[in-house]
């Protein structure tokens, strides 16, 4: 089996993840941080039994309190990601057109920790979203202004805004655990090791083995989901049907940061200020060249005459 994640230790240790390791920082620039080993979480949908251990482990480790909802005719509970549910098992009953057999596709949804994070790109608040050189994309509550731009920037529709607090929430890849040399709570808990965590390279190798096994069992399109459109992700999936990610509860086929967002946060941002600046400048220039447009004595006289001409 894949080497289990170690038990957390109770002896305090200096965090191995710090501001020195920042790669990107929203609405601000940081010096390229000290490089770290790239980490990744690999989610093997073919090993996943949809038990939701990842969900309860996440709730417990992150001290989250989700509210008890209702049954809406499905096993997906709660019904969507929320500010308290950073991960969610999504269940899809899919009949394979080739075999006519039912396949119960179960996908653990949550932040993908994109190498090129749309949330971070869209965020207007300096330091509200950070990306570490090991690949973790994390929200910084204190700097978040709750504008929801991250929601618009995310190609996977992951962040959720708390109306009460006006803050954005999502999976942190358990940065506090990783900082002391452990793996995410969900990966530690996962009964079948459908979730494993480690160096991204190791994860890719491990995935190769899984894909080989799946192909030997007739899943000819089995493959790894590490979408290049967002520069790859630090949460990857092994899919039995990698040719159609969409069937896994709408996993984007090839996610990219929306061009709208790119334009908004690119061209418009600069062009806009330029335009404003230009117009202002023209004003000054014009004033300097042609000077003020003054009312002359003659004008007043003329007006006076016109007024008196009547009386």
């Amino acid at each position: 089996m894949y080497p289990p994640l170690p038990n957390p230790t109770v002896t305090p240790s200096a965090p191995k993840l710090s501001d020195k390791n920042l790669m990107r920082r929203s609405a601000s620039t940081v010096p390229q941080g000290e490089s770290m080993q790239q980490v990744a979480k690999l989610i093997d949908t073919s090993k996943c039994i949809g038990c939701k251990a990842c969900q309860t482990a996440c709730l417990e480790w992150n001290n989250l309190r989700e509210e008890v909802g209702v049954n809406a005719g499905s096993y997906t509970n709660p019904h969507d990601l929320t500010t308290a549910s950073w991960t969610l098992m999504r269940f899809t009953e899919w009949v394979n057109p080739e075999t006519q057999d039912l396949e119960w596709l179960i996908r653990k949804d949550g932040c993908m920790h994109c190498a090129d994070p749309g949330c971070l790109k869209a965020c207007p608040s300096p330091g509200a979203i950070v990306q570490y050189t090991n690949g973790i994309v994390d929200f910084v509550k204190d700097n978040c202004i709750g504008c929801g731009y991250c929601v618009k920037g995310c190609p996977f529709n992951i962040p959720r805004i708390s109306k009460a607090e006006g803050k954005a929430y999502k999976c942190s890849l358990c940065s506090d655990r990783v900082a002391v040399g452990q793996g995410p709570a969900c990966a530690k808990a996962c009964p079948t090791q459908a979730i494993v965590f480690g160096p991204k390279e190791d994860m890719k190798k491990h995935a190769e083995g899984r894909i080989k096994d799946l192909k030997s069992r007739g899943y000819k399109n089995a493959g790894l989901y590490d979408p290049p459109g967002v520069g790859g992700t630090h949460v990857m999936y092994v899919l039995h049907h990698a040719d159609k990610p969409q069937i896994y509860a709408g996993l984007p086929n090839n996610p990219v940061i929306s061009p709208l967002v790119e334009v908004w946060k690119g061209a418009v941002k600069y062009a806009g200020l330029a335009a404003i600046g230009a117009v202002a400048a023209l004003g000054f220039l014009h004033h300097a060249v042609s000077g003020p447009n003054r009312v002359s004595r003659e004008d007043e006289e003329a007006a006076k005459r016109l007024a008196e001409g009547k009386s």
Binding site: I145, S258, L260, G272, G283, V295, A303, A307
Partner: protein
């Protein structure tokens, strides 16, 4: 008179110089409320628009407050401007001489008013400011509502919001530019500002820039 250039409250007072009432107190208050909200909107908007201006959020008590206040200012602007619209739309309708004025835009820029046709209460430039602002504010309030997650989050898709946020930014930039033109014109054309402060301009000013309006005033008396 149907095609009169005179608005309610306009008036003329003989003397030296002649004084002309251009804006009533109501109009002026309405204008300044609108103006204030526009300025605040521009500042708070720009603060969230470009990181280099994020520091401006300090004026509103930080990022979160800026995010909360901005849309409400938008609402004020909308209704404020709506008031102005009701007051001014009629005299901002396009007239024949406006075309001539546009044709002679070089003289306009050079300040050779003597070469320009006699104009009513507003010249083509002012009318364009008026109408573009009307349009832009309509666009801004609409797109603004789409991205006002606090209250309207659930009603729109992420894609709709992405379009809205882009449109909102574009329209805002345009509005700010128009606003600059408006302000500059008021400064460049001396004697204008008193119209919105004391509500009066001198006869000479009216003679020089809005002679048709002045004539109508005189003939009305």
């Amino acid at each position: 008179m149907a095609d009169s250039e005179v608005a309610p409250g306009d008036g003329i007072h003989p003397g030296d110089p002649v004084k002309v009432d251009r804006y009533t107190a109501g109009a002026r208050i309405n204008h300044w409320i609108t103006a204030a909200s526009l300025v605040l909107l521009a500042i708070s908007g720009l603060a969230l628009f470009h990181p280099s201006l994020f520091f401006l959020t300090a004026l509103f008590g930080g990022g979160s407050w800026t995010r909360v206040i901005h849309p409400w200012l938008g609402v004020i602007l909308f209704f404020g401007f709506f008031g102005l619209f009701l007051r001014f739309w009629k005299l901002n309708l396009w007239k024949r001489e406006d075309g001539t004025w546009m044709a002679k835009i070089r003289d306009v820029i050079a300040g050779h008013d003597e070469n320009l046709p006699e104009l009513g209460k507003y010249n083509a430039g002012q009318k364009m400011v008026f109408w573009s602002m009307s349009a832009l504010i309509l666009v801004l309030i609409t797109s603004g509502i789409v991205i006002w997650d606090q209250y309207f989050g659930p009603y729109f898709t992420v894609t709709q919001k992405r379009v809205a946020v882009l449109v909102h930014a574009g329209a805002a930039v345009a509005a700010i530019c128009v606003w600059i033109v408006h302000v500059y014109a008021a400064i460049w054309v001396r004697g204008t500002i008193s119209a919105m402060t004391r509500g009066q301009v001198t006869g000479g000013w009216a003679w020089r820039h809005h002679r048709k309006w002045l004539r109508d005033l005189v003939t009305r008396h």
